[in-house]
Symmetry: C2
Subunit: 505 residues, 2 copies
């Protein structure tokens, strides 16, 4: 009879095959978004659907289920936080979810995501949501199927949310949004009344593409992302990060030549995700522990570099002289303080990814509420564009000029519908919870930014978050790192303090 | 009982899965050569090995064998050249070869190729063949295993040659080389004696990278390769072409800023391969008919655009004014005729891919003879560098200054050893055989080049070669297109005529 260790080795080999298929599919996705000639879309759909189907087929083979059963006593004999027990535990959890999904459904999801991406691009060109609607109806139908297959007690979005935020419930997200709404809505109104107190015109000049890319690369480097031997930075319609091992992590950005902020902060943001990918130990790379445990915790790392670092006064004390060297004419006579204020301008705006730290979570709340209304049967997808615009008017006082600036802005709905956005808000909240603890552990942390010292912060995240891969649930990991469960208090305190000072509110 | 058509549909679906896995592996390879951060190599090896192993596993499943048996009478009821009969016939031939190779050997080949590529890069940096030798010994050992498993009657390289040149034997290649040697060796000697009759200094000036890339893109476009919606041109250490469907075909080049010829003709060459890929009908894209039947016929298409078109006087009559606009200073006072002569300079040189049309096949002959000597046990791999240099001195009168300019120049030996080079010479020979027929079919074809009319030639190749995918064996296809079997006569007549005129020999 094979020993526990032998069985674990066999399990690890079977899982490695699945991981390699998923990584291969990721490479095809990256290529599709950055390099692929337009006409290649149809073949790419077939290729990705085949890989996704096979990955699913290989992961759900009965031998894995049998090994997981056989390994129960071996697992119990190991410490909970050992690599081996964690790999068995996480593999079992994923296996149980995956065996519920029939291969045929997985393949249909993959094809719908690929087709949906193509239709989304067409709809964006036409600036018309109704072009995209049939693709979204298909995706939504598939999501309902997924929810039914995975099962739920309280809400059909619960099992979908669980895919990106293991353990989190729709009801908890609603509670979190209620707490945020209480502070953010009055704060926004107070700031909107004084919106001219901050002038962001210095950022709205002509900044040529190539210099912006140079600044974006510099931003990623400052954040500690390895662009040389273990990573890349490219262009895509919607910035994203993807890793195929800790030694091959790729981030993308997009450039608006009339607005410096878009690419610069997208690069810092994706570099934060990239830091997570590059920070997971290589020993996990052929296992299911090879990335963070949730979208929200991943987002905490991107927001850390985009907002908490990149929009801090200390960062600009350090970085502004370099930026001025790249764009001397544009920043002639502009003070560091005005740039600091400009990058923190709060205003109602259309595009989520360009939104400031105060309004951002209103954008997320809107999406979450619309998705929930669709799942609750209170909103039909044919009316999603109008519902979007009405709610947008409610929260931000604006009506999008067209669907491109409204309901068509996010890539997320090309491949899924339901609960994927909540992770962004969980990201904001957990980001500040982690940062508060890092500041307590490392005296003078933020002051060091002004001297270009960012490595201590990355080191803290490497040790307390990245080092664990997905050994722990997001809740466990957050508690291990900060000593308490998810709380919005540090985030709300940070927002009140920072924007209270800038706007005098 | 399922009908023949139903069984064929099932077979096609199973084969499509294999084709998609191979295409995915191809995308990973392209990325590895053009985009991948250095440190990603190890993970990439695992990913590609997994895909290659699965593709093999899926292709060799007994159900495919059973379907191929069951389809024999259905196949016999269809015309030999019908798409369906051809798909069954080609799938059966490939299946019989593939079922002979154990999956474990396929995976070891894939890993060896990946590792070998990394070691080759290191050896090139060190300019030292002995750094590469252990990788080559591993590859050679695997090739012997492959030969033994596939089986042979006459020579162990026969089954390896059969992989790229179905139906061709090592003994036939030797006969072909003997015929070429008879004309080429004395012709080379006559030309080498008058080597200064052609001055290629106009091509050996400073040509900045970006302008060269612009000229290279223009060259590919002139050849008819679609760079916009169905293809790309990128940079890599060794130029190559790969396709993932007729709608996604990618070519690469490399730039030498001190020599115009390298990138310009590499781009024309790869565009020729790319034309083949883009020319295969889309209906074949999910089947094994989705590319040409042999490396040699593929090479006939690349050499057509690189040499027969790109080094013709008529081409330069058309193109020289454009090139002069890109490089006005470099070509100030240089006549079209001197550029035509310069791009046709014949001289002993180190690098195969830079060699002229007359010496090129001596480079190939050298590799073929060295490989054969290793397989015949007459040469040890530890002595390959010295044997290379000695033979090089014999054929071309030169000794490579280091291994980078010698035995380390080709990427081919990173993934295989034995018979892959013969296709280049078969390519030269069949290229001129096809071109001679195209000229007979289309009066004034070559004169049209001077007016920028290249579409008739591409159209002829589309109809007579590309349109058939790999429905026919190379021999069948060549006979269908030209009315006779492979013959070196048109190639030798072309070489004697063209270079006789240029050198007055």
């Amino acid at each position: 009879m094979a020993s526990g260790s032998e069985k674990f080795e066999r399990l690890a080999a079977l899982v490695a095959e699945v991981v390699n298929l998923r990584q291969a599919s990721g490479i095809l996705y990256w290529d599709q978004q950055t390099m692929m000639p337009k006409a290649g879309a149809e073949a790419r759909g077939n290729q990705m659907a085949t890989l996704d189907k096979l990955a699913h087929e290989k992961f759900t083979r009965p031998e894995i289920g049998q090994l997981l059963e056989d390994l129960r006593s071996h697992e119990a004999s190991l410490p909970h936080d050992s690599d081996e027990a964690s790999a068995i535990r996480v593999t079992r959890r994923e296996y149980e979810k995956a065996t519920k999904l029939p291969p045929d459904l997985v393949e249909r999801l993959s094809r719908a995501a690929n087709d949906g991406f193509g239709v989304w691009l067409q709809a964006r060109e036409a600036r018309d949501y109704q072009v995209f609607r049939p693709a979204l109806e298909r995706t939504y139908g598939l999501m309902r199927e997924v929810a039914d297959v995975l099962g739920y007690q309280d809400h059909p979005m619960d099992p979908l949310l669980d895919q990106s935020e293991p353990g989190m419930k729709v009801a908890e997200v609603e509670t979190l949004f209620a707490e945020l709404r209480e502070t953010l809505v009055p704060l926004c109104q107070a700031i909107f009344a004084k919106v001219d107190a901050v002038d962001d015109r210095p950022l709205r000049q002509r900044f040529p593409h190539d210099q912006q890319m140079a600044a974006s690369r510099e931003a990623a480097r400052i954040a500690g992302f390895d662009l040389e031997t273990r990573g890349r930075l490219d262009l895509s319609v919607h910035p994203f990060t993807i890793g195929f091992s800790p030694n091959d992590v790729r981030i993308t950005t997009k450039v608006d030549e009339d607005f410096l902020t878009t690419s610069f902060f997208a690069s810092l943001h994706e570099a934060g995700h990239g830091n997570y990918g590059q920070g997971v130990p290589a020993k996990f790379q052929q296992s299911l522990l090879d990335d963070g445990p949730s979208a929200g915790l991943h987002e905490s790392q991107s927001l850390l570099w985009e907002n908490v670092v990149g929009r801090s006064r200390a960062f600009w004390e350090f970085y502004y002289p370099s930026l001025k060297r790249v764009f001397p004419a544009q920043f002639d006579g502009v003070s560091m303080e005005s740039v600091y204020r400009a990058v923190n301008k709060v205003q109602p705006s259309f595009i989520r990814v360009d939104a400031d730290e105060v309004t951002y979570n209103l954008h997320v709340m809107l999406r979450f509420e619309l998705e929930k209304a669709v799942f609750d049967g209170k909103l039909a997808l044919k009316d999603l564009d109008e519902a979007w615009n009405a709610k947008f008017k409610d929260y931000l006082g604006l009506t999008p000029p067209d669907d491109l600036a409204g309901v068509l802005q996010d890539i997320h709905w090309t491949g899924g519908f339901g609960a994927a956005f909540a992770g962004y808000t969980i990201g904001h909240v957990s980001c500040l919870q982690l940062y508060e603890k890092a500041c307590r552990d490392i005296p003078g942390l933020e002051a060091g930014f002004a001297r270009g010292e960012f490595a201590p912060l990355l080191g803290w995240m490497n040790r307390n978050i990245h080092a664990h891969g997905s050994k722990f649930t997001p809740q466990e990991l957050l508690e291990r790192a900060t000593g308490r469960p998810l709380t919005a208090k540090p985030y709300l305190a940070y927002i009140r303090r920072k924007f209270g000072e800038i706007y005098g509110v």
